[in-house]
């Protein structure tokens, strides 16, 4: 059994006019020490899925179905009291733009100490010692723990956030766009750090990003999301080299690369659907160049096309014969 198994997860937001089906049947699993990339365009539900795992949804959001099995226990059905034992201690999260969410009037060290004291039964002194260790671990001078957030640069604040996520020795870290606001040279430093820590601490990582190139360099496997569903799910090599779903293919063809041959970039026509009124049948059909009548009527299921390679498309077998 995998450490984390997400099965048919559904998360809906209640709004005027109905439910926004932000996550609508998502599957993935994660072993200890693995890194999973959750990729897709804005609004595809990747952040919602991550928040759902920790049950941190906004008040109008609810888990409408499915299971989130962490070591066999279903986080989706757990009481608020019991899930609190998992948050931060077992599963921590680096929120999107979190480096700007540090409290500006509290020293960064104190903010980490606060997190440790809230979850662990230790003295304040021990918590400070742990904080200094964490600073060393993420490549910051422990002296900087006494600084206020505005005294640190963006890259350093992101390191503080990583230190905070590791404060209680979690098994799983969810990182939501951890490097999006950073410059490439700083992004490279932070990604290198995350890869190093992941290996050293045998962490499991869920990396949420719209940047496929970041995933190609850091993750073992990838789930491509489209409009609240998993379009394709496989190991990184298969996703980038032998993708079968037309959306995955389109997405990879649209990503420019700094290396290799300069092939023409191809856009996917149209834009992602409104999740309040998703199109019937396959949600990708209005933008898919291979769409046939069945795609407009019947929703394809996520099927295993090869060991460990899942795709949800009616024409998966035909796609195998269309070269990528």
């Amino acid at each position: 059994m995998a450490m984390l198994e997400v099965e048919d997860l559904k998360i809906y937001y209640e709004v005027i006019g109905g439910d926004v089906k932000a996550v609508d049947g998502v599957y993935f699993d994660l072993e200890k020490g693995e890194a999973l990339g959750l990729a897709g365009e804005s609004g595809c539900g990747k952040t919602t899925a991550a928040l759902g795992i920790l049950r941190l949804l906004p008040s109008n959001g609810r888990i409408a179905g499915g299971k989130i099995l962490f070591e066999g226990k279903d986080l989706a059905k757990m009481s608020e009291e019991s899930i609190r034992k998992y948050r931060w201690k077992r599963i921590s999260i680096i929120f999107q733009g979190a480096m700007n969410a540090l409290n500006p009037v509290i020293r960064v060290g104190n903010q980490i100490v606060e997190a440790i004291l809230a979850h662990e039964n230790v003295t304040e002194q021990e918590a400070w010692r742990r904080t200094e260790e964490l600073f060393e671990m993420v490549g910051l001078d422990p002296e900087r723990a006494k600084d206020y957030p505005h005294e640190l640069s963006g890259g350093m604040r992101q390191r503080v956030m990583i230190a905070m996520a590791l404060a209680c020795n979690p098994d799983l870290v969810i990182a939501d766009e951890p490097t999006t606001a950073l410059d490439v040279t700083i992004q490279a430093q932070v990604l290198e750090l995350m890869k190093k820590l992941q290996k050293e601490l045998n962490l499991s990582l869920i990396l949420i990003t719209h940047d496929l190139a970041v995933i190609a360099e850091t993750c073992n496997k990838v789930a491509i999301m489209y409009a609240g569903k998993i379009a394709e799910y496989a190991d990184t090599y298969t996703i980038f080299k032998k993708p079968l779903h037309p959306y995955t293919r389109g997405l990879i063809k649209a990503v420019p690369s700094i290396k290799g041959t300069k092939e023409k970039l191809v856009a996917i026509p149209g834009s992602p659907p409104d999740l309040l009124y998703p199109p019937p049948g396959c949600r990708f059909h209005p933008r898919c160049k291979y769409a046939k009548d069945i795609c407009k009527e019947k929703e394809p299921e996520l099927t295993e096309v090869a060991p460990g390679h899942y795709a949800s498309c009616h024409f998966v077998d035909e796609m195998k014969n269309i070269p990528f």
Partner: protein
């Protein structure tokens, strides 16, 4: 046929003075400046895309704004079609303004939410009184919308920005830029806020106008991967200066300056089979108020020698259409 030079800048500088407290001025006479742009030279020809690339705070956006005279240059010269426009007064500048346009990064913020698409796109014509009748105005707006593929134009003309997707909004911003038939467009990160799957369409649109209307583009980006697909030449900026410049493929495939090399090696590649050796730079760009002496890159440079700390390197030719400023090369 030789393409004409549209934009030329020489030794362009933009220093922003720092306001200090009254007390601070009593105790020290020293004036402080943020040297956002500190001696930049380049030219852009018709049908050419010149890319200015670099990390945040390197001065690429300020360079564009200075060329458009949205901020006043501190020093240096700006030529438009051979005319010196560096110190023209607002009135004298007007005929040039029609020929120069800008596309901003964030189509969610650059369009006034209370104006309809018609108002937004027709504004440059209205401000400059470039139409005879209401009918002509409407026709021109319709043509511009058709050109950016918002078809049929009648369906989009009276919509408001919040009713459009990000890609459609950026098309509106482009329609506003091309409606005066400019010779020069500064595009400041035009696709960085858009989803990957629609970026290619917007870049293609810009490329089509380049060919159809002979536009000279200044393409500003931090993303060298997209720059590679759309630009003809590139200038890599670091802390207010261009450190390497030349033909896009030459600079990106065979970078000579250590900063360019590090920048390129830091960019992740969407191919898991490609294993590369990575140069990880130490530290972060320094404070532009007190740029380091000598070569500005020396505190982070893995190859820095003594001379780098003392003297600023000159731009030298390192190959055909390829220049770099580094002591290792001269």
């Amino acid at each position: 046929m030789e393409n004409k030079t549209v934009i030329k800048v020489e030794n362009l500088r933009k220093w922003f003075p720092i306001r200090r407290s009254f007390f601070a001025t009593l105790f020290s006479k020293e004036e402080l400046y943020v040297k956002a742009v500190d001696g930049v030279d380049f030219e852009i020809k018709e049908r050419e895309v010149f890319c200015l690339a670099g990390e945040s705070g390197c001065g690429k956006t300020t360079t564009a704004r200075t060329i458009l005279r949205l901020v006043e240059p501190t020093d240096g010269k700006i030529y438009f079609d051979g005319d010196d426009i560096t110190h023209l007064k607002t009135k004298e500048l007007k005929p040039y303004r029609i020929k120069m346009q800008i596309i901003f990064q964030d189509p969610y913020e650059s369009l006034n939410p209370r104006l309809s698409v018609f108002d937004i796109v027709s504004e440059p014509l209205q401000v400059n009184k470039l139409y005879e009748s209401q009918r002509e105005l409407k026709e021109k707006v319709a043509t511009a919308l058709e050109e950016v593929e918002l078809i049929p134009p009648e369906r989009f003309m009276y919509r408001f920005p919040h009713e459009l997707s990000g890609g459609q909004r950026q098309r509106v911003a482009i329609a506003r830029a091309i409606i005066t038939r400019p010779r020069f467009i500064a595009a400041d990160e035009p696709v960085s806020m858009l989803d990957v799957s629609i970026r290619a369409e917007i870049l293609e649109l810009m490329d089509r106008f380049k060919r159809e209307f002979n536009i000279a583009y200044l393409y500003i980006t931090h993303d060298l991967s997209t720059a590679r697909y759309v630009s003809d030449r590139i200038g890599i900026m670091y802390l207010g200066k261009i450190v390497e410049t030349g033909n896009i493929d030459k600079v990106l495939d065979d970078p000579q300056h250590p900063y360019t090399q590090a920048l390129i090696s830091a960019i992740p590649v969407p191919d898991p089979t490609m294993k590369r050796k990575r140069v990880i730079l130490r530290g972060e760009p320094p404070n532009p108020i007190y740029p380091p002496p000598g070569c500005r890159f020396h505190p982070r440079c893995p190859y820095a020698k003594d001379v780098c700390k003392e003297k600023e390197p000159e731009m030298v030719k390192v190959g055909e259409e390829h220049y770099a400023a580094c002591w290792l090369l001269s």
